[in-house]
Protein backbone atom coordinates (compact mmCIF):
# COMPACT_ATOMS: atom_id res chain seq x y z
CA UNK A 1 0.00 0.00 0.00
CA UNK A 2 2.46 2.66 1.17
CA UNK A 3 1.96 6.25 0.19
CA UNK A 4 -0.03 7.30 -2.84
CA UNK A 5 -0.18 10.71 -4.47
CA UNK A 6 -3.34 10.91 -6.58
CA UNK A 7 -3.30 13.82 -9.04
CA UNK A 8 -2.31 16.24 -6.30
CA UNK A 9 -1.83 19.93 -6.94
CA UNK A 10 -1.10 22.93 -4.79
CA UNK A 11 -1.95 26.46 -5.79
CA UNK A 12 -1.31 29.18 -3.23
CA UNK A 13 -3.88 31.94 -2.64
CA UNK A 14 -1.70 34.41 -4.59
CA UNK A 15 -1.98 32.19 -7.64
CA UNK A 16 1.48 30.59 -7.49
CA UNK A 17 1.30 27.01 -8.68
CA UNK A 18 3.75 25.00 -6.57
CA UNK A 19 2.58 21.65 -7.91
CA UNK A 20 0.32 21.26 -10.94
CA UNK A 21 -0.69 17.59 -11.18
CA UNK A 22 1.43 14.92 -9.56
CA UNK A 23 0.78 11.21 -9.19
CA UNK A 24 3.11 8.62 -7.75
CA UNK A 25 2.99 5.56 -5.50
CA UNK A 26 5.60 4.63 -2.93
CA UNK A 27 5.34 0.98 -1.90
CA UNK A 28 5.80 0.20 1.80
CA UNK A 29 9.37 -0.28 3.01
CA UNK A 30 10.83 1.52 0.00
CA UNK A 31 12.69 4.80 -0.29
CA UNK A 32 11.54 7.42 -2.74
CA UNK A 33 13.87 10.32 -3.47
CA UNK A 34 12.22 13.49 -4.75
CA UNK A 35 14.90 15.47 -6.51
CA UNK A 36 14.76 18.80 -8.25
CA UNK A 37 15.97 22.37 -8.08
CA UNK A 38 14.26 25.00 -5.98
CA UNK A 39 10.78 25.72 -7.28
CA UNK A 40 10.29 22.12 -8.34
CA UNK A 41 7.72 21.57 -5.59
CA UNK A 42 9.61 18.66 -4.04
CA UNK A 43 9.32 19.96 -0.48
CA UNK A 44 5.67 20.88 -1.00
CA UNK A 45 4.96 17.32 -2.13
CA UNK A 46 6.70 15.81 0.90
CA UNK A 47 4.89 18.16 3.25
CA UNK A 48 1.55 16.99 1.89
CA UNK A 49 2.18 13.61 3.48
CA UNK A 50 2.11 14.97 7.06
CA UNK A 51 -0.29 17.76 6.16
CA UNK A 52 2.15 20.60 6.73
CA UNK A 53 0.66 21.54 3.35
CA UNK A 54 -2.79 20.47 2.19
CA UNK A 55 -3.22 19.76 -1.48
CA UNK A 56 -5.70 22.05 -3.23
CA UNK A 57 -6.66 19.26 -5.63
CA UNK A 58 -6.19 15.50 -5.56
CA UNK A 59 -5.43 13.40 -2.51
CA UNK A 60 -2.56 11.83 -0.64
CA UNK A 61 -3.32 8.36 0.73
CA UNK A 62 -1.42 6.46 3.39
CA UNK A 63 -2.29 2.77 3.34
CA UNK A 64 -5.42 3.67 1.40
CA UNK A 65 -6.64 6.42 3.75
CA UNK A 66 -6.85 10.05 2.68
CA UNK A 67 -4.62 12.02 5.04
CA UNK A 68 -7.19 14.80 5.18
CA UNK A 69 -9.51 12.47 7.09
CA UNK A 70 -6.86 12.15 9.80
CA UNK A 71 -6.20 14.51 12.70
CA UNK A 72 -3.18 16.68 11.79
CA UNK A 73 -1.42 16.43 15.12
CA UNK A 74 -1.97 12.67 15.50
CA UNK A 75 -0.88 12.11 11.89
CA UNK A 76 2.34 14.08 12.37
CA UNK A 77 3.19 12.22 15.56
CA UNK A 78 2.83 8.93 13.68
CA UNK A 79 5.31 9.98 10.99
CA UNK A 80 9.03 10.39 11.58
CA UNK A 81 10.29 13.76 10.40
CA UNK A 82 13.92 14.66 9.77
CA UNK A 83 14.19 18.41 9.19
CA UNK A 84 16.94 20.34 7.46
CA UNK A 85 19.93 21.36 9.51
CA UNK A 86 18.86 23.52 12.44
CA UNK A 87 15.59 21.73 13.10
CA UNK A 88 16.50 20.40 16.53
CA UNK A 89 14.97 22.10 19.54
CA UNK A 90 17.83 24.32 20.71
CA UNK A 91 16.54 24.53 24.28
CA UNK A 92 16.32 20.80 24.85
CA UNK A 93 19.18 18.47 25.60
CA UNK A 94 20.02 15.86 22.96
CA UNK A 95 18.31 13.07 24.90
CA UNK A 96 15.16 15.14 25.34
CA UNK A 97 15.13 16.06 21.67
CA UNK A 98 15.12 12.37 20.80
CA UNK A 99 12.42 11.63 23.39
CA UNK A 100 10.18 14.49 22.16
CA UNK A 101 7.48 12.62 20.26
CA UNK A 102 7.11 9.66 22.65
CA UNK A 103 6.66 12.16 25.51
CA UNK A 104 4.08 14.08 23.44
CA UNK A 105 2.35 10.75 22.99
CA UNK A 106 2.19 10.24 26.75
CA UNK A 107 5.08 7.84 27.31
CA UNK A 108 6.61 8.31 30.79
CA UNK A 109 9.67 10.59 30.70
CA UNK A 110 11.95 8.00 32.24
CA UNK A 111 10.95 5.30 29.75
CA UNK A 112 11.23 7.69 26.81
CA UNK A 113 14.68 8.88 27.91
CA UNK A 114 15.94 5.31 28.30
CA UNK A 115 14.70 4.46 24.81
CA UNK A 116 16.31 7.67 23.52
CA UNK A 117 19.68 6.60 24.94
CA UNK A 118 19.39 3.32 23.00
CA UNK A 119 18.54 5.23 19.83
CA UNK A 120 21.59 7.45 20.18
CA UNK A 121 23.66 4.30 20.10
CA UNK A 122 21.77 3.04 17.05
CA UNK A 123 22.70 6.20 15.12
CA UNK A 124 26.29 6.00 16.29
CA UNK A 125 26.41 8.75 18.90
CA UNK A 126 28.33 8.51 22.15
CA UNK A 127 26.13 8.41 25.27
CA UNK A 128 28.21 11.29 26.63
CA UNK A 129 26.56 13.62 24.13
CA UNK A 130 23.08 12.97 25.55
CA UNK A 131 23.17 15.79 28.06
CA UNK A 132 24.46 18.39 25.62
CA UNK A 133 22.43 21.01 23.85
CA UNK A 134 22.24 20.88 20.02
CA UNK A 135 24.42 23.96 19.57
CA UNK A 136 27.25 22.06 21.26
CA UNK A 137 27.27 19.37 18.57
CA UNK A 138 28.81 19.32 15.11
CA UNK A 139 26.51 19.53 12.09
CA UNK A 140 26.87 15.81 11.40
CA UNK A 141 26.11 14.90 15.01
CA UNK A 142 23.05 17.14 14.96
CA UNK A 143 21.67 15.35 11.92
CA UNK A 144 22.24 11.99 13.60
CA UNK A 145 20.22 13.26 16.52
CA UNK A 146 17.53 14.35 14.07
CA UNK A 147 17.41 10.84 12.59
CA UNK A 148 17.26 9.26 16.06
CA UNK A 149 14.45 11.61 17.00
CA UNK A 150 12.47 10.70 13.89
CA UNK A 151 12.79 7.00 14.75
CA UNK A 152 11.78 7.42 18.40
CA UNK A 153 8.06 6.90 17.97
CA UNK A 154 8.68 3.83 15.77
CA UNK A 155 6.90 5.31 12.77
CA UNK A 156 6.29 3.37 9.57
CA UNK A 157 6.98 6.43 7.49
CA UNK A 158 9.99 8.76 7.53
CA UNK A 159 9.97 12.14 5.82
CA UNK A 160 13.42 13.60 5.26
CA UNK A 161 13.73 17.23 4.14
CA UNK A 162 17.22 17.74 2.69
CA UNK A 163 18.50 16.02 5.82
CA UNK A 164 22.19 16.05 4.94
CA UNK A 165 22.30 19.22 2.87
CA UNK A 166 24.30 21.35 5.28
CA UNK A 167 27.17 19.04 6.16
CA UNK A 168 30.45 18.61 4.34
CA UNK A 169 30.70 15.90 1.64
CA UNK A 170 32.61 13.35 3.74
CA UNK A 171 30.19 13.56 6.65
CA UNK A 172 27.28 13.52 4.22
CA UNK A 173 28.57 10.27 2.78
CA UNK A 174 28.80 8.78 6.31
CA UNK A 175 25.27 9.84 7.09
CA UNK A 176 23.96 8.40 3.82
CA UNK A 177 25.71 5.10 4.54
CA UNK A 178 24.21 5.01 7.97
CA UNK A 179 20.75 5.71 6.60
CA UNK A 180 21.12 2.84 4.13
CA UNK A 181 22.25 0.53 6.92
CA UNK A 182 19.35 1.56 9.17
CA UNK A 183 16.91 1.21 6.33
CA UNK A 184 18.16 -2.34 5.62
CA UNK A 185 17.33 -3.24 9.22
CA UNK A 186 14.17 -1.21 9.76
CA UNK A 187 12.45 -1.16 6.37
CA UNK A 188 10.63 2.16 6.74
CA UNK A 189 8.73 3.83 3.94
CA UNK A 190 10.87 6.87 3.26
CA UNK A 191 10.29 10.05 1.29
CA UNK A 192 13.53 11.96 0.95
CA UNK A 193 13.75 15.41 -0.58
CA UNK A 194 17.07 16.53 -2.01
CA UNK A 195 18.54 18.74 -4.69
CA UNK A 196 21.59 16.46 -4.89
CA UNK A 197 21.17 13.85 -7.62
CA UNK A 198 24.06 11.78 -6.24
CA UNK A 199 22.30 11.58 -2.89
CA UNK A 200 19.05 10.62 -4.60
CA UNK A 201 20.83 7.83 -6.48
CA UNK A 202 22.63 6.56 -3.39
CA UNK A 203 19.66 6.51 -1.06
CA UNK A 204 16.60 6.10 -3.26
CA UNK A 205 15.14 2.81 -4.43
CA UNK A 206 13.12 4.95 -6.78
CA UNK A 207 13.96 8.47 -7.88
CA UNK A 208 11.54 11.11 -9.13
CA UNK A 209 13.18 13.95 -11.02
CA UNK A 210 11.00 17.04 -10.91
CA UNK A 211 10.79 20.06 -13.17
CA UNK A 212 9.38 23.40 -12.05
CA UNK A 213 5.82 23.06 -10.74
CA UNK A 214 6.09 19.42 -9.68
CA UNK A 215 6.10 18.10 -13.23
CA UNK A 216 7.70 14.67 -13.39
CA UNK A 217 10.65 14.64 -15.75
CA UNK A 218 11.36 10.98 -15.07
CA UNK A 219 10.58 8.27 -12.51
CA UNK A 220 12.59 5.14 -12.13
CA UNK A 221 15.35 3.33 -10.35
CA UNK A 222 18.73 5.04 -10.41
CA UNK A 223 19.87 2.47 -12.97
CA UNK A 224 16.90 3.17 -15.24
CA UNK A 225 17.57 6.86 -15.14
CA UNK A 226 21.30 6.63 -15.77
CA UNK A 227 20.83 4.07 -18.55
CA UNK A 228 17.99 5.85 -20.31
CA UNK A 229 17.49 9.49 -19.41
CA UNK A 230 14.04 10.48 -20.63
CA UNK A 231 15.01 13.80 -22.19
CA UNK A 232 17.60 16.55 -22.29
CA UNK A 233 16.35 17.98 -18.99
CA UNK A 234 17.08 14.70 -17.20
CA UNK A 235 20.30 14.22 -19.12
CA UNK A 236 21.40 17.66 -17.99
CA UNK A 237 20.18 17.26 -14.40
CA UNK A 238 21.82 13.87 -13.95
CA UNK A 239 24.89 15.06 -15.75
CA UNK A 240 24.85 12.12 -18.16
CA UNK A 241 27.31 13.92 -20.36
CA UNK A 242 29.56 15.10 -17.54
CA UNK A 243 33.08 13.75 -17.56
CA UNK A 244 32.68 11.81 -14.32
CA UNK A 245 29.64 9.95 -15.68
CA UNK A 246 31.14 9.00 -19.06
CA UNK A 247 33.30 6.08 -18.07
CA UNK A 248 35.30 3.76 -20.25
CA UNK A 249 37.85 1.05 -19.61
CA UNK A 250 41.46 0.87 -20.65
CA UNK A 251 43.78 -2.12 -20.43
CA UNK A 252 46.65 -1.65 -18.04
CA UNK A 253 48.91 -4.41 -16.70
CA UNK A 254 46.30 -7.00 -17.62
CA UNK A 255 43.57 -5.15 -15.67
CA UNK A 256 40.51 -3.38 -16.97
CA UNK A 257 40.94 0.07 -15.48
CA UNK A 258 37.88 2.32 -15.52
CA UNK A 259 38.59 5.96 -16.31
CA UNK A 260 36.26 8.94 -16.56
CA UNK A 261 35.93 11.40 -19.38
CA UNK A 262 39.00 13.26 -18.19
CA UNK A 263 41.02 10.02 -18.13
CA UNK A 264 41.13 10.04 -14.32
CA UNK A 265 41.09 6.50 -12.93
CA UNK A 266 37.87 5.63 -11.08
CA UNK A 267 38.60 1.98 -10.25
CA UNK A 268 39.25 -1.45 -11.60
CA UNK A 269 36.55 -3.53 -13.28
CA UNK A 270 35.71 -6.63 -11.25
CA UNK A 271 36.42 -9.80 -13.25
Amino acid sequence: MGIEFQNVGKTYPDGTVAVADFSCTIPSHRTLALVGSSGSGKTTLMRMVNRMVDATVGAVLIDGRDVRELDKVALRRSIGYVPQAGGLLPHRRVVDNVATVPILNGVAKKTARAAAMDLLEVVGLDAGLASRYPAQLSGGQQQRVAVARALASEPNILLMDEPFGAVDPIVRRDLQDQLLQLQAELGKTIVLVTHDIDEAFRVGDEVVILKTGGIIAQVGTPQDIVAAPADDFVRDFVGTDRAERTLRTIHLDGQQVVVDGDDRPVGVLAQ
Binding site: M52, R76, P90, L125, Y133
Partner: protein, 224 residues
Protein backbone atom coordinates in the same frame (compact mmCIF):
# COMPACT_ATOMS: atom_id res chain seq x y z
CA UNK B 1 23.05 58.65 60.31
CA UNK B 2 20.74 59.79 63.08
CA UNK B 3 17.66 60.18 60.92
CA UNK B 4 18.00 56.68 59.45
CA UNK B 5 18.67 55.19 62.92
CA UNK B 6 15.49 56.75 64.27
CA UNK B 7 13.34 55.82 61.29
CA UNK B 8 14.58 52.34 60.45
CA UNK B 9 11.14 50.76 60.89
CA UNK B 10 9.50 53.38 58.69
CA UNK B 11 12.06 52.80 55.90
CA UNK B 12 11.54 49.04 56.01
CA UNK B 13 7.78 49.51 55.90
CA UNK B 14 8.01 51.84 52.92
CA UNK B 15 10.44 49.48 51.17
CA UNK B 16 7.96 46.63 51.59
CA UNK B 17 5.21 48.89 50.32
CA UNK B 18 7.37 49.82 47.33
CA UNK B 19 7.91 46.16 46.45
CA UNK B 20 4.19 45.41 46.81
CA UNK B 21 3.43 48.15 44.28
CA UNK B 22 6.23 47.47 41.80
CA UNK B 23 6.14 43.66 41.56
CA UNK B 24 2.44 43.22 40.66
CA UNK B 25 2.73 46.05 38.14
CA UNK B 26 5.70 44.34 36.47
CA UNK B 27 3.96 40.94 36.49
CA UNK B 28 0.81 42.39 34.89
CA UNK B 29 2.94 44.21 32.29
CA UNK B 30 4.76 41.01 31.40
CA UNK B 31 1.57 39.00 30.89
CA UNK B 32 -0.27 41.70 28.92
CA UNK B 33 2.80 42.55 26.85
CA UNK B 34 3.31 38.87 25.94
CA UNK B 35 -0.30 38.67 24.77
CA UNK B 36 0.00 41.91 22.75
CA UNK B 37 3.42 40.93 21.43
CA UNK B 38 2.06 37.58 20.33
CA UNK B 39 -0.84 39.26 18.53
CA UNK B 40 1.55 41.71 16.88
CA UNK B 41 3.80 38.86 15.81
CA UNK B 42 0.96 36.72 14.50
CA UNK B 43 -0.93 39.48 12.68
CA UNK B 44 1.62 42.15 11.70
CA UNK B 45 -0.99 44.59 10.43
CA UNK B 46 -2.94 44.53 13.68
CA UNK B 47 0.43 44.61 15.40
CA UNK B 48 1.43 47.93 13.88
CA UNK B 49 -1.72 49.50 15.31
CA UNK B 50 -1.38 47.82 18.71
CA UNK B 51 2.29 48.65 19.12
CA UNK B 52 1.70 52.20 17.89
CA UNK B 53 -1.05 52.67 20.47
CA UNK B 54 1.21 51.23 23.15
CA UNK B 55 4.03 53.66 22.50
CA UNK B 56 1.49 56.48 22.44
CA UNK B 57 0.32 55.44 25.91
CA UNK B 58 3.89 55.58 27.13
CA UNK B 59 4.03 59.25 26.21
CA UNK B 60 1.10 60.13 28.50
CA UNK B 61 2.53 62.04 31.50
CA UNK B 62 2.36 60.09 34.75
CA UNK B 63 0.43 62.52 36.93
CA UNK B 64 -2.58 62.93 34.59
CA UNK B 65 -2.64 59.14 34.19
CA UNK B 66 -2.94 58.77 37.98
CA UNK B 67 -5.98 61.06 37.82
CA UNK B 68 -7.57 59.39 34.80
CA UNK B 69 -7.22 55.75 35.90
CA UNK B 70 -9.38 56.14 39.08
CA UNK B 71 -12.06 57.90 37.04
CA UNK B 72 -12.15 55.17 34.40
CA UNK B 73 -12.07 52.28 36.88
CA UNK B 74 -14.06 54.17 39.55
CA UNK B 75 -11.57 53.45 42.30
CA UNK B 76 -10.23 55.89 44.92
CA UNK B 77 -7.38 58.15 43.78
CA UNK B 78 -5.19 57.10 46.66
CA UNK B 79 -5.71 53.33 46.30
CA UNK B 80 -2.75 51.11 45.52
CA UNK B 81 -4.70 49.63 42.61
CA UNK B 82 -4.64 53.03 40.94
CA UNK B 83 -0.86 53.16 40.96
CA UNK B 84 -0.45 49.48 40.02
CA UNK B 85 -2.74 49.93 37.02
CA UNK B 86 -0.96 53.09 35.90
CA UNK B 87 2.44 51.43 36.23
CA UNK B 88 1.18 48.35 34.39
CA UNK B 89 0.06 50.59 31.53
CA UNK B 90 3.55 52.05 31.27
CA UNK B 91 5.22 48.68 31.68
CA UNK B 92 3.06 47.12 28.99
CA UNK B 93 3.69 50.03 26.63
CA UNK B 94 7.41 49.65 27.18
CA UNK B 95 7.47 45.85 26.84
CA UNK B 96 4.95 45.03 24.07
CA UNK B 97 7.34 45.89 21.24
CA UNK B 98 10.12 43.87 22.82
CA UNK B 99 7.75 40.94 23.25
CA UNK B 100 6.92 41.05 19.53
CA UNK B 101 10.66 41.15 18.78
CA UNK B 102 11.16 38.23 21.14
CA UNK B 103 8.73 36.06 19.17
CA UNK B 104 10.33 37.19 15.93
CA UNK B 105 13.70 36.11 17.29
CA UNK B 106 12.59 32.47 17.38
CA UNK B 107 14.02 30.55 14.43
CA UNK B 108 11.08 29.72 12.15
CA UNK B 109 12.82 26.48 11.13
CA UNK B 110 12.66 25.28 14.72
CA UNK B 111 9.01 26.22 15.01
CA UNK B 112 8.23 24.44 11.74
CA UNK B 113 10.12 21.31 12.75
CA UNK B 114 8.18 21.26 16.01
CA UNK B 115 4.93 21.56 14.11
CA UNK B 116 5.94 18.76 11.77
CA UNK B 117 6.76 16.52 14.73
CA UNK B 118 3.24 16.93 16.05
CA UNK B 119 3.23 19.78 18.53
CA UNK B 120 -0.24 21.30 18.81
CA UNK B 121 -0.53 25.09 18.38
CA UNK B 122 -0.80 25.54 22.17
CA UNK B 123 2.15 23.21 22.65
CA UNK B 124 4.21 25.30 20.24
CA UNK B 125 3.40 28.47 22.18
CA UNK B 126 4.21 27.15 25.63
CA UNK B 127 7.05 24.75 24.87
CA UNK B 128 8.76 26.24 21.83
CA UNK B 129 8.00 29.92 21.27
CA UNK B 130 7.83 31.11 24.85
CA UNK B 131 11.03 29.46 26.12
CA UNK B 132 12.96 30.43 22.99
CA UNK B 133 11.70 34.02 23.25
CA UNK B 134 12.94 34.25 26.85
CA UNK B 135 16.41 35.72 26.24
CA UNK B 136 14.99 38.76 24.41
CA UNK B 137 11.98 38.93 26.72
CA UNK B 138 14.17 38.95 29.83
CA UNK B 139 16.19 41.89 28.54
CA UNK B 140 12.93 43.80 28.11
CA UNK B 141 11.62 42.78 31.55
CA UNK B 142 14.81 44.12 33.14
CA UNK B 143 14.21 47.55 31.60
CA UNK B 144 10.57 47.55 32.69
CA UNK B 145 11.45 46.51 36.23
CA UNK B 146 13.98 49.27 36.75
CA UNK B 147 11.67 51.85 35.21
CA UNK B 148 8.70 50.66 37.29
CA UNK B 149 10.63 50.73 40.54
CA UNK B 150 11.60 54.34 39.95
CA UNK B 151 8.11 55.34 38.76
CA UNK B 152 6.53 53.98 41.95
CA UNK B 153 7.91 57.03 43.75
CA UNK B 154 5.52 59.27 41.80
CA UNK B 155 2.64 57.70 43.71
CA UNK B 156 3.78 59.68 46.75
CA UNK B 157 2.57 62.85 45.01
CA UNK B 158 -1.03 61.63 45.23
CA UNK B 159 -0.49 60.06 48.64
CA UNK B 160 0.29 56.42 47.83
CA UNK B 161 3.12 55.50 50.19
CA UNK B 162 6.38 54.01 49.04
CA UNK B 163 10.04 54.97 49.29
CA UNK B 164 8.85 57.98 47.29
CA UNK B 165 7.15 59.25 50.45
CA UNK B 166 10.65 59.84 51.85
CA UNK B 167 11.29 62.17 48.93
CA UNK B 168 8.10 64.23 49.33
CA UNK B 169 8.38 64.29 53.10
CA UNK B 170 12.10 64.99 53.06
CA UNK B 171 11.72 67.88 50.63
CA UNK B 172 8.85 69.43 52.58
CA UNK B 173 10.60 69.19 55.92
CA UNK B 174 14.05 69.79 54.42
CA UNK B 175 15.61 66.62 55.82
CA UNK B 176 18.42 65.86 53.44
CA UNK B 177 19.19 62.47 54.87
CA UNK B 178 15.59 61.39 54.36
CA UNK B 179 15.70 62.39 50.68
CA UNK B 180 19.01 60.56 50.21
CA UNK B 181 17.59 57.47 51.85
CA UNK B 182 14.64 57.56 49.46
CA UNK B 183 16.84 57.95 46.39
CA UNK B 184 19.44 55.36 47.38
CA UNK B 185 16.82 52.93 48.65
CA UNK B 186 14.94 53.11 45.35
CA UNK B 187 18.12 52.57 43.38
CA UNK B 188 19.21 49.64 45.53
CA UNK B 189 15.79 48.04 45.16
CA UNK B 190 15.96 48.45 41.37
CA UNK B 191 19.42 46.87 41.25
CA UNK B 192 18.36 44.01 43.53
CA UNK B 193 15.27 43.19 41.45
CA UNK B 194 17.32 43.46 38.27
CA UNK B 195 19.87 40.96 39.59
CA UNK B 196 17.03 38.67 40.65
CA UNK B 197 15.60 38.75 37.12
CA UNK B 198 19.00 38.05 35.59
CA UNK B 199 19.35 35.04 37.90
CA UNK B 200 15.86 33.74 37.09
CA UNK B 201 16.52 34.30 33.38
CA UNK B 202 19.73 32.30 33.52
CA UNK B 203 18.05 29.49 35.43
CA UNK B 204 15.28 29.33 32.82
CA UNK B 205 17.61 29.35 29.78
CA UNK B 206 20.35 26.84 30.59
CA UNK B 207 20.96 26.13 26.89
CA UNK B 208 22.31 29.65 26.49
CA UNK B 209 25.17 29.10 28.88
CA UNK B 210 26.45 25.66 27.98
CA UNK B 211 27.14 24.44 31.50
CA UNK B 212 26.50 20.81 30.65
CA UNK B 213 28.88 20.85 27.71
CA UNK B 214 31.92 22.00 29.56
CA UNK B 215 31.46 19.16 32.01
CA UNK B 216 31.15 16.44 29.36
CA UNK B 217 33.24 17.77 26.50
CA UNK B 218 36.37 15.90 27.54
CA UNK B 219 34.67 12.56 28.13
CA UNK B 220 32.52 12.37 25.00
CA UNK B 221 34.00 10.81 21.90
CA UNK B 222 32.44 12.42 18.89
CA UNK B 223 31.15 10.07 16.23
CA UNK B 224 30.54 12.36 13.29
Amino acid sequence: MTWLDLNRDLVWDLLGQHVRLAVPAVLISVVVAIVLGRIAWRWPRVGTVVLGAASLLYSVPALPLLIVVPVVLSIPLRSETNLVVALAVYGTALLAGTAADAFRSVDSQVREAAEAMGYSPTGIFWRIDLPLALPVLVSGIRVVTVSTVSLVTIGALVGISSLGSLLTDGFQRNIREEVATGVIGTMLLAVALDLLIVAIGRALTPWQHGTAAKATKSSAGAAA
